[in-house]
Amino acid sequence: MATATAAHPDAHAHEDPQSFVSKYIFSYDHKVIGVQYLITSLFMMLIGGALAMAIRTQLAWPNSGVLKADSYLAAISMHGTIMIFFVLTPALIGGFGNFLIPLKIGARDMAFPFINMLSYWTYVVSIIPLLASFFVPGGPLSGGWTAYPPLSALRGAAPGSGLGQDLWLLSIAIFLISSLFGSLNYLTTILQMRVRGMTFWRLPLTVWSLFIASVLALLSFPVVTGGALLLLLDRIAGTSFYVPAGLFLGGQLVDHKGGNPLLYQHLFWFMGHPEVYIVILPPMGMVSDTLANFARKPIFGYKAMVVSMLAIGVLSFLVWGHHMYVTGMHPMLGTAFAAMTLAIAIPSAVKTFNWMATLWRGKIYFSTSMLFSIGFISLFTAGGLTGIFLGNAALDIALHNTYFVIGHFHLVMGAAALFGIFTGVYYWFPKMFGRMMHEGMGRVHFWLSLIGLYGTFFPMYILGIGGMHRRIFSFEAFGYITRMHDINIVITISAFMIFIGGLVFAYNLIWSLTHGPNSADNPWRATTLEWSTPTPPPHGNWVGEVPAVHRGAYEYSVPGAKDDYIPQWVTPQKAGVVTEH
């Protein structure tokens, strides 16, 4: 069914839904599924954020009693797991990927609507064991979101290494399968269902970024799904993939033989590093689109933007070892991984300068979406540059597992990706719901977030240089960390600013859904195809024929044109000028 219509975007992939359940619950409509993904991941963000607040309270005021040594480890492990797997990935890939890909390429829906529905509900199913692990004896996993064995393999090794760890592995395995459904769908849709005239070199960068991220997900997720299942077997079936002989836990000889814990680290980071780019590529794409839109300029160096994202995608598979410089990998490998890692700085620099060049001599409108896009550039730079320290294997000896690393990845892939999500929500909310969001509340959200994020993660560089290591519930055993107690207090206060900003955002969402002014079809005077649909778009996206595409995605301020933008769907006759792309 779906395959038969794949090559023909005008055909309906499926009938209009009739009942409430088929329209909003088990919907096949990519837009509904996208919104479902977004709402679910925003709900998970609230949990992940609340855990972060508990962690920060503990670190600023170690005697506050918010957490204990065991619940602290549970909190950090779940914070990381939730934010990476259950917030950033599903919001960006599942949420925006679903909502935007068909609309932006001129398709009526995804290639496989049923698998799309299945993907969302598999994601929901994966959340259940994860959240259930809070309520089992011993609590959730204790070994950090990376769950390295043997700590995660041996039941007695930590409180969370009991049932909580089993549930975590189950949850991750289900989640990764759900992502796989999504990736296959996005790739097929982008390859097969573009409307007439939508060549690859006319695709908006958002679509390119989601395309590349889907390739990465498709190739990397199965590896860690396998890795997680092997760990589960070590735990429940008596195998020894990761656990060597001769270990003692308490007074007891551990009953395993022949495994190697390094194997898990390789499998994990072979997924773990591409995963970083899976969540940062879509924000790069979305921010490129909004920067061009609100600066009223073509994105600078479109082809370089595409090529640099492809380069990042390829390199992302060749650098996983930089997480393992000091773990016991042969030092010779460290040299190769260091060279590959620093090479990623080149496409990243190209992207950053291209965004800046897009702003240069623009006509900038500071919508909330634009504020978050500009904030993205700042955060991405502040976080990305310290990757040059950490990628350098020799410096990583001093910095690995310290707060320097925490500051780095939170800025470059946490905060920046978060800003990508916010950029996207403020920008596409009118298309999703037919109403505008409140700009004033948006600005409050932006200021609290950006100042809060800098105040939280920039000082962490100093903590790391000063020697504070990760995943410690209290630092009072170490004099050289205690000397930095004041920094920890500043960080915690800043972290609360982010959280309050998030609450303003949540309120703004709810307020705007019911009170926001009605939106026109193309409120931002944008050029890409989703703005040619009615707002909100009906089932099937376009009434009547899907408009053909006549030009590239960024024809803003073309000399000689009547308006300062020429949408992709406007014919050359109507536009009055011939455009280059």
């Binding site: 836990l249 082809k303 080149i346 240069w360 409108y365 040059i388 700009e439 000082p459 100093i462």
Partner: protein, 284 residues
């Protein structure tokens, strides 16, 4: 499209506050790093290779700091300068420029090439095993404490084998193990290269000595090694850098850097593995 539908005319037009905010990050960022250097920086150095790490850190700090300043200075200027100025103003149509793009591809490329080579050379130097006259010690970790094994008079540590069902898996059939000294104190000799074997009894730990700029995982079932040359006598903190269970946060140890004479006197007073085994044999 009617003018009323144009939401662009309803959003904020001034980029002044945003530009100033971006500039303030730049200024506060630089000041806070300069301020921190005197208070919260790397611990005073006590190892040889650490000087090279510190120097390379400073070089990269200057380079990345300059980039951070460049990006934020321009970003702040652009948002203040290029705000929308009403109907009369128009954005400059500037879709690409090969020379500009190649410039900021090649320059960072060259910088990264240089940093790669320098970093790899330093990394390789740090991992070059010391000569046969090095001080050898096995540092041991378990949930949640530290200890050490010294090779004794023969200068050779008894071999370890995962199949030996005993904590830390020392093969006592190996004659070299007889004079090994196991002790809760970790001592090394000043100005003498140290070859450190790392052994864990249970889960993964991490041997992290901030003052030495030394860090290496202690991998279950694997004898990892790390090398350093302490340059000052004294007592230095060891932290377990990798999460290892509930007591991870308090898993602090100490490493004492002493003179050769002090060490020789001390080690002679400690029991060897053979000594420790003897009373048990007698009791039987």
């Amino acid at each position: 499209m009617s003018q009323a539908d144009n939401q662009l005319e309803r959003v904020q037009r001034s980029g002044l506050s945003l530009g100033l905010l971006i500039w303030s990050f730049m200024i506060v960022g630089v000041i806070s790093i300069l301020y921190a250097r005197d208070r919260w920086w790397f611990l005073p150095l006590a190892s040889q290779h650490g000087a090279e790490i510190d120097r390379m850190f400073d070089i990269i700090l200057v380079l990345t700091g300059a980039m951070f300043i460049l990006v934020h200075a321009l970003l702040g200027y652009f948002v203040i300068q290029y705000r929308s100025r009403g109907a009369a103003s128009k954005a400059h149509y500037f879709p690409h420029n090969v020379v500009l793009e190649l410039t900021y591809t090649i320059l960072p490329g060259l910088a990264m090439l240089g940093l790669s080579v320098a970093g790899i050379l330093l990394w390789s130097n740090i991992h070059r095993p010391p000569g046969p006259d090095a001080f050898v010690v096995e540092v041991r970790a378990e949930q949640f404490g530290w200890s050490a094994r010294y090779p004794g008079a023969d200068g050779v540590l008894g071999r370890t084998d995962n199949d030996v069902a005993e904590p830390y898996n020392v093969d006592r059939k190996d004659p070299a193990s007889r004079d090994d000294v196991v002790n809760s104190e970790i001592r090394v000799v000043v100005n003498r290269p140290v070859r450190t074997l790392l052994r864990t009894r249970d889960v993964i730990h991490e041997f992290y000595v901030p003052a030495f700029r030394t860090k290496r995982y202690m991998l279950s079932g694997v004898s990892n090694e790390t090398y350093f040359t302490p340059t000052r006598t004294g007592t230095y903190d060891i932290a377990c850098g990798f999460v290892c269970g509930v007591g991870h946060y308090a898993m602090r140890g100490q490493i004492q850097v002493v003179t050769q004479a002090e060490f020789d006197t001390w080690v002679k007073q400690q029991k060897t593995l053979a000594d420790a085994a003897a009373p048990r044999g007698a009791a039987r």
